[in-house]
């Protein structure tokens, strides 16, 4: 029960000396900074500002469902081709879109314009683009999906839908890391 837990936490805290408390905070910082390093390292390795994205809509079903995880690369040398799964940003929309490339036109000088469509949508994306926008360009692309893992993104979707749950989980994790002593 909650009461018992409180007592065990408190007695744990009492039994810690200064050195141990210091150590706990350091290991907490270690976890945070290595997570940050992994994320930034992935950004450098993939060239994408957001190398891992969660699928937020059903427009690519039955391939990708809400909560599936996609790994992106954004290699500018790798040409954009029909069938690629592109993650792109539209002016005036906060959330990037994950859709498939339907049509590509590439000039001699390397300028590319392309059109996308969701597998589960009946028509192409021109209705989703900014008013007057007919094509996407290289600069709109955050990355292209090269790897897939199902379900894991569900955690972030639940956390975004229920912010209180998010703070509860983060708080609990924080307490855990700070109080959990190496046995």
């Amino acid at each position: 029960t909650m009461g018992l837990l409180d007592i065990s936490f408190l007695s744990d805290l009492k039994r810690m000396n200064k050195r141990q408390v210091f150590y706990q905070f350091l290991s907490f910082g270690m976890i945070v900074s290595s997570a940050l390093m992994i994320w930034k390292g992935l950004i450098v390795a993939t060239g994408s500002e957001s190398p891992v994205v969660v699928v937020l809509s059903g427009s690519m079903e039955p391939g990708f469902y809400r909560g599936d995880l996609l790994f992106l690369t954004n290699d500018l040398e790798d040409p954009i081709r029909a069938g690629d799964i592109a993650v792109f940003r539209i002016k005036g929309r906060d959330i990037p879109i994950v859709h498939r490339v339907l049509q590509v036109h590439e000039r001699d000088d390397g300028y590319v314009k392309f059109l996308t469509k969701g597998d589960n949508n009946a028509i192409d994306d021109r209705g989703l683009y900014a008013p007057g926008q007919l094509w996407l360009e290289k600069g709109d692309v955050i990355g292209r999906a090269k790897g897939f893992v199902p379900y894991i993104g569900m955690v972030t979707i639940v956390m975004n839908d229920y912010p209180k749950f998010k703070y509860a989980v983060l708080g609990l994790l924080g307490i855990f890391v700070l109080l959990n002593r190496e046995a």
């Binding site: 990708f64 069938g83 339907l102 590509v104 036109h105 590439e106 007919l134 090269k146 897939f148 002593r181």
Partner: protein, 179 residues
């Protein structure tokens, strides 16, 4: 700190580690597959005309139309780490305006358990074959290819070309009206 909470924590961590390990093994077990297959494509009738694309204003462009014969057996591509195939036929060609053009004409989602034997005769394309200008009429080298995106249960997302391409020589004359 040998409490209920710490036991729950280690149980959860163990479950996640085992699941992640198994998922990774599933990916490793199929990573060597080449997903090779052979497709036969043909175009019994090919037309080209000029038309306004009302989706993008009143700009006039070349619009191609071809009926498709498709013959391919993709059943062998389904191993235990393939959830779905996204099969599509592209036309790629060169024009004066663009060094590379590629347009999807037809696609089909084949989920695990469904038949992946494609056998179509004189099927109409699903999408309009718009050029970005007037590069289709008389174009001698429009190449059709069957491609598929292999969507795994977990792993790499690959786009593969089937062996066997079909080169179309577009007609020298526009047809008039709506056909």
């Amino acid at each position: 700190m040998n409490t209920f909470l710490s036991r729950l924590n280690s149980l959860f961590a163990m479950t996640m580690t085992v699941l992640a390990g198994l998922t990774f093994c599933c990916f490793l077990s199929t990573v060597h597959h080449t997903h090779h297959s052979i497709a036969k494509l043909d175009t019994p009738s090919v037309l080209v005309r000029q038309a306004p694309d009302y989706m993008i204003g009143h700009e006039i462009n070349d619009l191609g139309h071809m009926t498709l014969n498709i013959d391919a057996d993709l059943n062998h591509l389904f191993n235990w780490n393939v959830k779905q195939l996204f099969v599509y036929i592209t036309a790629h060609y060169k024009t004066e305006k663009n060094a590379f053009n590629q347009v999807v004409l037809w696609d089909k989602i084949i989920r695990r358990g469904e038949s992946a034997r494609l056998q179509y005769s004189r099927v109409n394309p699903k999408y309009y074959f718009w050029d970005d200008g007037f590069g289709l009429r008389g174009n001698p080298n429009v190449t059709l290819a069957l491609q598929y995106n292999v969507i795994p249960n977990s792993g790499r997302l690959l786009n593969i070309y089937a062996e066997g391409r079909h080169v179309v020589s577009m007609p020298e004359n526009y047809i008039k009206g709506r056909a």
